[in-house]
């Protein structure tokens, strides 16, 4: 067995753990220490994979040809992608007059809309670790979605606290250590938060729910409360209400809220266009509509005629009818060769994965930028290089 490679970073979830050690045997990763189930799935079996790089040139030509002929292209995906890939994808969308929509989970999209509308009081995960004496999970199960959250940020009590209480609110009790659980259907979330907001603001309401009263008192009594929300909180009004609750609590104590999602793949699009997702360049400048320019809407209504998929992750966020439509149109897929997928892409281009075959920078779910060092010295082209080459191909065909 070869020497271990330390400080490997993993972008399988939004935590981007950087303390992983991998061991390589016969050119493949065979063991990963400090790795969670998601990370193990992502890393084990990966290799330098230089085999398929020879056919890339033809595939790029074909992709450029498809996009030149397309009248309404869509760029979708980018899950776990690095900054360079996102930059190249936006440049291609701008050049084509396409729509670009990063594949964000529904609760992440809703959170961005709510953030645009009412703002957010948030912090970094380090602050939660060191200061939060009350943590509330809203509609999420961190043990499944972010397995290392407890181990890295909640179980160690940090510098400024001696005790931490953990509440959970949602349809099912999360699997991790929870002090108190309030069961609530997704439909009742807004009513519950509205009642909580009214009680925190000392308004008299007709609610007799003892949980609401007790939670309001504990939130106000905490020195620092941190709320994490997940996939059950996928409505904009629910999240706006939650963000406003947190704002209200800051009149009594410190309180923050954060989404349990993937890496922040909307940041580059936001700083380049002003819009976080569902941006359309058809008029020569970016326009935004989270509904009518979303990949789901465009596909469901047959408003796109070619798709560039940057990674096959994120397809689960598309509706059944959108997926069905996807099967009928040309697909240009840029993905790690080790991925298995049901799609039959028209053009498939193997690309390097940031943090495995090449280095790159991603934003952790709390917005902290982190470097993903490469594990292998691979000859696979990066997605950014391929996207730039496709753009050059489209340019050349216009001459």
């Amino acid at each position: 067995m070869s020497e271990p490679i330390n400080n490997v970073a993993c972008a399988a979830c939004g935590l981007v753990c950087e303390n992983i050690t991998v061991r390589i045997e016969k050119g493949k990763i065979v063991a990963a220490e400090n790795a969670c189930s998601l990370c193990t799935k992502k890393l084990i079996g990966q290799s330098a994979d230089n085999s398929s790089s020879a056919t890339v040139g033809n595939a790029i030509e074909r992709a450029a040809d498809i996009l030149t002929k397309s009248k309404s292209p869509l760029i979708y995906g980018l899950v776990g992608s690095d900054i360079a890939t996102q930059r190249a994808a936006i440049a291609l969308a701008d050049h084509l007059g396409a729509t670009i929509d990063p594949a964000l989970p529904p609760h992440h999209r809703a959170a961005i809309e709510a953030f645009q509308s009412v703002g957010i009081s948030t912090c970094t995960l380090g602050e939660v670790k060191h200061r939060a004496d009350l943590v509330v999970f809203w509609g999420c199960d961190p043990d499944n979605s972010h397995p290392e959250l407890y181990k890295r940020f909640l179980e160690p009590l940090g510098e400024y606290i001696t005790k931490r209480r953990i509440f959970a609110i949602g349809t099912q009790r999360p699997t991790g250590c929870i002090d108190e659980f309030i069961q609530l259907t997704s439909e009742d979330q807004h009513t519950f938060i509205s009642s909580l907001r009214a009680i925190v603001a000392s308004r008299e309401i007709d609610s007799t729910d003892k949980h609401i009263q007790s939670l309001a008192e504990q939130l106000k009594a905490a020195s620092y409360s941190a709320m994490f929300f997940g996939k059950e909180m996928n409505g904009v009004p629910e999240l706006e209400a939650l963000f406003q609750l947190v704002r209200q609590l800051n009149a009594y104590t410190r309180s923050v809220v954060m989404g349990l999602g993937g890496t922040q793949i909307e940041n580059v699009l936001t700083w380049q266009t002003g819009y976080p997702f569902a941006a359309n360049f058809a008029l020569g400048y970016p326009r935004y509509c989270p509904h009518t320019f979303s990949a789901n809407h465009l596909l469901e209504h047959e408003q796109a005629d070619a798709v560039v998929l940057i990674g096959s992750e994120g397809l689960e966020y598309l509706s059944a009818s959108a997926k069905k439509q996807l099967e009928k149109m040309p697909i240009i897929l840029l993905d790690d060769v080790s991925q298995e997928y049901d799609l039959k892409p028209t053009v498939s281009i193997p690309t390097a994965v940031a943090g495995i075959h090449c280095s790159g920078t991603v934003f952790r779910m709390d917005g902290v930028p982190l470097r993903l060092p490469a594990i292998f010295d691979s000859e696979l082209p990066t997605a950014a290089d391929v996207l730039s080459a496709i753009q050059q191909g489209v340019l050349a065909s216009c001459v």
């Binding site: 009248k71 396409a98 645009q116 009513t191 509205s194 509904h291 209504h301």
Partner: protein
């Protein structure tokens, strides 16, 4: 009158916001034919997409064909009349100041979003966010009237500041969400979370509300005289006002207490 008939049905997004009666009034027939519209990412002369007949000197435009992939008919119009014989697509009457838009079939999302004046009449149904605010905007419609003979979707009148929205059928959830002022009349039933986070404004709901938010409280039962005035206004616009008269007793609820608590929801006494 300028008549625009869609030559071939398209599902690709069709940007139509440039086709306003007040903008086209000064142009000749041949000049109108050369105006560019955007289909998908292609910029095409109007005559390539539509059969163009007549001109727009009388500030009247009639669209024919399935424009469900259309976007922005009547955006920012300041005068004139638009008639859409068929589905009208999304963002119809976005930010319009004055004039009239008549739709013989359905309208998509954001009908009359952020409109400041004028009248929109829909013979069919309307999608989500009718009279609402665009994503990121602080205010929805600030004037004018939207009359829908069928149903309307979710988030009707989101953040509306002034004006009147009337839907004869049912509306989806979050009607009057974050409403600042204005009036919404619903002939049928409402989905969940009606009036959530409303500051002011009035909602008249023709049928009993199943789950009113606990942040609303019963205020009084009355025969509000103002309803007669609203009903007369809506009647004159061809809206069926059966059930909306000041002779009935209406229960009034006040809320939302998470906002200022000055909004009103009226439901008829059963």
């Amino acid at each position: 009158m300028l008549s625009l008939t869609l030559k071939t049905r398209t599902t690709l997004p069709l940007e139509l916001s440039e086709l306003r009666p007040d903008k086209l009034r000064e142009l000749s027939h041949s000049e109108i034919e050369k105006i560019f519209v955007v289909r998908g990412r292609e910029k095409l002369p109007l005559a390539e997409v539509f059969t163009v007949k007549g001109d727009c000197w009388d500030e009247q435009i009639e669209f024919s064909g399935d424009l469900s992939s259309g976007r922005g008919i009547g955006t920012g119009m300041t005068n004139g009349r638009i008639r859409v014989a068929g589905h009208a697509g999304n963002y119809v009457g976005l930010g319009m100041f004055a004039g009239e838009i008549e739709i013989t079939s359905n309208a998509g999302q954001y009908l009359g979003a952020e409109m400041r004046g004028g009248l929109i009449r829909v013979a069919g149904s309307a999608g989500d966010y009718a009279g609402g605010a665009q994503p990121g905007s602080t205010r929805g419609m600030t004037g004018g009237t939207i009359v829908v003979k069928g149903d309307a979707g979710n988030f009707v009148g989101t953040r509306m500041r002034r004006g009147l929205i009337a839907a004869r059928g049912n509306v989806g959830s979050y009607a009057g969400y974050k409403m600042l002022a204005g009036t919404i009349v619903v002939g049928g039933s409402c989905g969940a979370h009606v009036g959530a986070s409303m500051n002011r404004g009035t909602l008249w709901i023709g049928q009993a509300i199943k789950n009113l938010l606990p942040t609303f409280s019963y205020a009084c039962t009355s025969r509000p005289a103002v309803l007669g005035m609203i009903a007369r206004e809506l009647s004159s616009l061809g809206f069926d006002t059966a059930g909306f008269d000041a002779l009935h007793e209406w229960r009034q609820y006040s809320g939302d207490l998470t906002a200022t608590g000055r909004g009103e929801i009226f439901v008829p006494m059963t």
